[in-house]
Symmetry: C2
Subunit: 781 residues, 2 copies
Amino acid sequence: MTNDREVDLAALNAHWRAANYLAVGQIYLMANPLLTEPLRPEHIKPRLLGHWGTSPGLNLVHTHLNRVIRDRDLNAMCVWGPGHGGPAVLANSWLDGSYSQVYPDVSRDAAGMGRLFRQFSFPGGVPSHVAPETPGSIHEGGELGYSLAHAYGAAFDNPGLLVACVIGDGEAETGPLAASWHSNKFLDPARDGAVLPILHLNGYKIANPTVLSRIPQAELDSLLTGYGYAPIHVTGSDPDAVHLSMARAMDDALERIARAREQGSGRPAWPMIVLRTPKGWTGPVEVDGVPVEGTWRSHQVPLTTVRENPEHLRQLESWLRSYRPQELFDTDGRPTEQVLACVPDGELCLGANPHANGGLLTRDLPIPPLEHFAVPADKPGATLHEPTRVLGGLLARIAADTAESRNFRVVGPDETASNRLEAIYDVTGKAWQAEILESDEHLARDGRVMEILSEHLCQGWLEGYNLTGRHGLFSCYEAFVHIVDSMVNQHIKWLKTSRRLPWRAPIPSLNYLLTSHVWRQDHNGFSHQDPGFVDHVLNKSPEVVRVYLPPDANTLLSVADHVLRSRDYVNVIVAGKQPCFDWLSLDEARAHCARGAGIWEWAGTEDGTREPDVVLACAGDVPTQEVLAAASLLRRHLPDLAVRVVNVVDMTKLLPREEHPHGMADLEYDALFTPDRPVIFAYHGYPWLIHRLAYRRTGHANLHVRGYKESGTTTTPFDMVVLNDLDRFRLVMDVIDRVPGLATRAAGVRQTMTDHRTRHHAWIREHGTDLPEVADWSWSE
Amino acid sequence: MTNDREVDLAALNAHWRAANYLAVGQIYLMANPLLTEPLRPEHIKPRLLGHWGTSPGLNLVHTHLNRVIRDRDLNAMCVWGPGHGGPAVLANSWLDGSYSQVYPDVSRDAAGMGRLFRQFSFPGGVPSHVAPETPGSIHEGGELGYSLAHAYGAAFDNPGLLVACVIGDGEAETGPLAASWHSNKFLDPARDGAVLPILHLNGYKIANPTVLSRIPQAELDSLLTGYGYAPIHVTGSDPDAVHLSMARAMDDALERIARAREQGSGRPAWPMIVLRTPKGWTGPVEVDGVPVEGTWRSHQVPLTTVRENPEHLRQLESWLRSYRPQELFDTDGRPTEQVLACVPDGELCLGANPHANGGLLTRDLPIPPLEHFAVPADKPGATLHEPTRVLGGLLARIAADTAESRNFRVVGPDETASNRLEAIYDVTGKAWQAEILESDEHLARDGRVMEILSEHLCQGWLEGYNLTGRHGLFSCYEAFVHIVDSMVNQHIKWLKTSRRLPWRAPIPSLNYLLTSHVWRQDHNGFSHQDPGFVDHVLNKSPEVVRVYLPPDANTLLSVADHVLRSRDYVNVIVAGKQPCFDWLSLDEARAHCARGAGIWEWAGTEDGTREPDVVLACAGDVPTQEVLAAASLLRRHLPDLAVRVVNVVDMTKLLPREEHPHGMADLEYDALFTPDRPVIFAYHGYPWLIHRLAYRRTGHANLHVRGYKESGTTTTPFDMVVLNDLDRFRLVMDVIDRVPGLATRAAGVRQTMTDHRTRHHAWIREHGTDLPEVADWSWSE
């Protein structure tokens, strides 16, 4: 390897020492930031919180990224996997000036340094981790595993961008990270940015060595080569030697990346850096007689009783002074020229790159008029369409119209076609940089559909893509979206916080299409049946979460149109892929979605002169069909009964107005559901969710909910609803049981319903299919 | 490689053909199983459901496992990762006789074959996947990613057992599977069984090629070598050649395993097999003019309209007859001698090995008297202990007392010490087969604590360990247990089903200890704050799930004692690791846990003559402390108020009796909570969970719940409860606001509480610590 670039080791080391000093200062000091006087207990924070162990390594990486960005005018951002090393990233963003730009009161001088120190992990201050509050970050890092997927998501469709990604050796043990290395099979050197993974082997987690630091280097190299990378090693504990080696490694990596890009599409062996430095490097070597630097003991706060223990106080002071702060900061606390020599200018700073505040770069999606895709529905329930297939048409058009802007992707775990969205393949392929055979279909080096059998990667990629300002949709089997429960938690937390930061521009929402849902798992059965993601998401911040259950194709279009235009939300859409009756025309669907919940007058038997006798409510495609079939049975068998049918598209409408911005006022709720009539609610998921949403409503005591109650297996669609007591016959029985006075009058009708269910059980065991009157049912007024 | 073992290719091929025939028969036929007459549409099932693509590969593996088991009297089981290939595993278990043993009506003859075919994926029959109903299985495989972790879990502490594990190339893309390869750093060749991974590269998922099948073989070998394995390749599509190659590969692998075991502890390069055969091998080559065999199109049902399309019917018949069934089964439908030549006897059959019905092998844990570990608590709230540290003593003793039986393990993602359970290290180490340095602590080749920074692996290992009949505990940070939401779903589904199968013996429960919980994340903040796992689990089958929130050390001991003795449950315990007041003596704790919820008379101010004015209820350690502090404030400021304090340990007590076996009868509930008095409920997690559990109760309208509402950050413990309105002052205000007539009378007290909160806000911003009167508070009557 040759490297002609000059390396000013002294300057790099000064920057690194400054960053280390600032990291230690944040953890410990609430006064005397420049050590202008001897350290006294009252300068020390009363609660010492933060993570030192990873910080010197992160600082090293930051220093060297600064160097290459400045030297090469590089457009770069960095994902800091060990996000608990907040002190390091904050220190660097204060050093490069981006922190003070966003938070002017934390100025780049002594006063600002004092505030920087005091606020860290202090009540009312800033979190101890890299967080939305941290300039230049798109990744919290508190929950480990997602850094590399985020980095790739940021790089897709960002040619010219370098996304560095520090991966801790702890994080490298997680499943999502272990799979993320393979993201290079989906990255197009010609049209995407580059990702530079930096695997930081500091050897220890909280209390244990790490797997990758304790296998022979040849085995590690074999692993990384097998993942498709060419590892470059930087190892040591002597700062000057490591600086030189790291500078050369960075130059080497960037030259290899440049060559890969020149070669265009295909799959080069992408460079990566393996950085082996001691955990807690430059910190106390030994504390209270046991080794600390280079061991797991330096993970958090190496000296824990500084206020109380004069020896710890002395050790801290000598540790801080070991960085020679007087050489790094002038008497006003400003970093010296030498410290700032490697720092890039303006937007090139890692703390200021607009890609890491992606809303700044967001362009609206070109969403065509829905009329081109809507299905005709002049009469409710007269025709059938597969809602997701109809949506596929819209997505295909958007994909076509973003062929130049390349700011829209669809991700899914090998299910895009299974979920009937394959119209998109007419306009773009599936991204694939591995081998392509002649028999393959729709694989393309420049494809913008991304399929890998990993919900974690789909989610991580799309989050990274959203966070850097681009749009997308994640289509997923409903049951298996639980795989990313914890990831969506973190993304919602990120959005909740970033929405409150005026300098963070809103980013495109994270949009889920959950299909192949609980009611239609004919092929797969019980393991594929779980509608609980909605429950999970609705536990989270109401300002961020939105849940839609469109009952047919046109309402799905209208919902999709809405969510693709929205910002800073997590939108969950649950919609079937199987043929489903068209209930609403496009205009009706739009009006219905705008309200979020409404009366379907055509389906009920109210005469307008009085309150209905009963409300049949529904949310979800299958429950809507069963409710309409029940309404139809009631119309035939009990024509005098005044039945109201209410459909709910937007689940958060059921919440009180104080609990969610979409929540209905009580008067509105009562106008729909009545304050005192029995409401039989057929819901797509776990029935108690409806109670959890509506428990404060006046009529709650009259609310009776049917839904999925974990009775599942491989069976017919109608048998599934019967097993869970959600079928039309059961709903009619519920009406008879709950409307006062009906039990006796309608005893015969009730028996007829029971007979239907009995007949169903017998029929299905013999024929393995649904009753003809059910299979052939369609709505007629 | 030399191989002297004789390979009867004809017999192996006959067995494989028979299994393939039976797999196709299950997918298609409801009559004419032996093709004794020409195939007619009415022989075909009306709904064709199942997965053919993976089945011939699974059948090949099964045939060859049979051979080596029989030849070597091998004690072996197999985890079938591509569990959707149910037809294959069912076919084999019918062939080896284990199916008929468990289900005598599905006999190994023509009549039984007819039933085997008809029941498959037929309403009221058996699921299309490998399932609890499948003899010899511990793994469903519907949700991909966990096969290899299950296999390792089964192998730990089972010396002499071989656990084969088929991993599909689709599954290999998932995160959990990608991390699972590293499980070999935790497997002791001397004391554990062996795992033989068989990576089946049939090239395609549902609709896409797979990553590992499309990278160069050298790259794949490098990857697998880097994971610590020595791959043995079997590639081809000519049956005889593949049989020979597979037989040799199996022999080679088993000989290498034998050598590794002889060498004792350490880490050999474990053998594994890479099997490359066509997807849908031996199925239709082409259907309707497009290639099917060897492509993704053979994933499910290659011929889809057999009843309607005579050409498809013809193709199916010729496909079935291509196996020459008349050579494989006699006229009574019994498999011929040649077919059965490779089948092992009795318990050695894969379908009958007792390890795969682990309850058969379960031995009770030796649980010592809790008196040895309990903390003295003569007076409530007079002393403080860290509950998890106290539990650590109990776990250490159990670990010591199972040193010989080796049937107890503790798993955790690098948090066992952080969660203060480290007493266990006095008696056993942390399993570790990678490099050990002199400075390391507690690492041991034979350790029975398992730590890796992957919740997925912790969960997968423990599930495998439980399913093979052994005991364990998973200690996890509360927020990050969501990472395994979807895994626990599948385990609960497994238990729900297996509990109903008389031949499946009950297995040890899956036990979680969730600690480092939402209220005490001083170091980490918002990303580490999420109490929603309880909500998630409570959506699942009530016969399986149990949730406990012990409020102090002795109740934690009592709960732990209970869950470690239990079978077939998923037990979730949420308990703090921080110092916590001791409220109950051991005897009181036992009595309280037996009831699940009860009145703490000593804490209230009832005089026994009338209903209380208000009920202060609590669940969880921090809410219990705040409620007791509130009770103490009320006692001081409003001494005439009759306050009742109720603590809930077992959350499912709140459910109606019809909804959960632990649910309280309404009378019981009313006796605790009153039918009509205000109840202020301080709950550990999301407040609406309490409403979702109690919405049917008489007094529900008077229930007011405080809990975590997503207001989190890095701050002090008391500030966290203030941010979420769960603090003692807020609770007192809630009482004043809700007890009729109190608002005016207690306006001054209310103002005092507001003042306390104001003082808190000012104090914490200045000092960064909690108010002295809060930090120093303790209970006094």
